[in-house]
Amino acid sequence: MGDAIGKHFQPSLKDLSELEKLTRAYGKFSRDSMGLGHVLGGGLVFMSAYLLDHHIHLGVFGRLLLGLGPFIWILGKEWLREHYYQFSGRVQQRRRGWEDIVLALLTGITGLFSLTASGFVIHGLLQDFSWRMALSGLAFVVLLLPLPFIVWRYLRAPYEFVVGVFLFMLSAILLSGTSLPPAHGRAEIVYLFADLALVVALVMVLVGFVEHMEFLKLRRKIHALKEAA
């Protein structure tokens, strides 16, 4: 597909098939592929998991910044998608029929989880109230309650879902001050979660990097087509 159609006005079957591939590849960057968005998400997950794993003490400012982490990531990835990866006009990836069902299921499961976790926190507070615990609990609930909506609206692709859920969970734990060493009663499961998050973060950085390389190739192809016209 070296020549653009405008000049070379008889597209062959090979041209058409390459055009199909190019459209699909470009369209993937409207949803499934995020390139640098995955790198950013993976980086934030890694940082949060590392802080949690090494029970590093965070001041109020540090906690607030971590609480904003997931939102910074969402804004960043959406900006990249809109202004960088869809540089030549928007092409919305085709939806497969089962995707809406999977998304509805994931939203439902996330909703159930966030309601249950928030319920436990509120119940615990009612049993043994203190202002310090109330503030921590509030931070936890504020981050977890909107999660189903965020999944439905912003975490529609599989990798996005994985990064987003890990990031929100880690931020909720860190923001609510659960970054205490095990001697202070921190559950072992939090350690395991942090270790798993470290692995997920590294995989996401790698996936994002590979996708970004694919994008650079795609961009060169589209520029070559424009120049040929």
Partner: protein, 102 residues
């Protein structure tokens, strides 16, 4: 021989035109495509592209959505079910006719 010729003669003229074939091929691979992308990959001029889009819209093969992104006007195109089946029929007919020729 006559059957092969018939295959060619009954091809949908709206789809058969190369620029329109390219437009439909691109649209069939996505949910929605912006004009700007089509302009980049087809190499057609804005006027030429608009004229072919108009013909495809008239035939009911695509729908055009005009909107503003901030203050910038944008145009988005979506292939219809009729457009998708016309493209499929065209490809099947062409493949059959070409196979008959061999």
């Amino acid at each position: 021989m006559r059957a092969d010729l018939e295959g060619f003669l009954t091809l949908d003229r709206v789809v058969h035109e190369p620029a329109r074939l390219v437009i439909l091929t691109v649209l069939a691979q996505a949910e929605e495509v912006e004009f700007k992308f089509l302009e980049a990959v087809s190499g057609l001029t804005k006027g030429n592209l608009s004229s072919h889009i108009g013909k495809l819209e008239e035939a009911g093969y695509l729908v055009v959505k005009k909107f503003f992104r901030g203050k910038v006007p944008a145009t988005s195109l979506k292939i219809t079910r009729a457009g998708r089946s016309a493209l499929k029929k065209y490809r099947d007919q062409l493949n059959q006719a070409l196979q008959g020729k061999e």
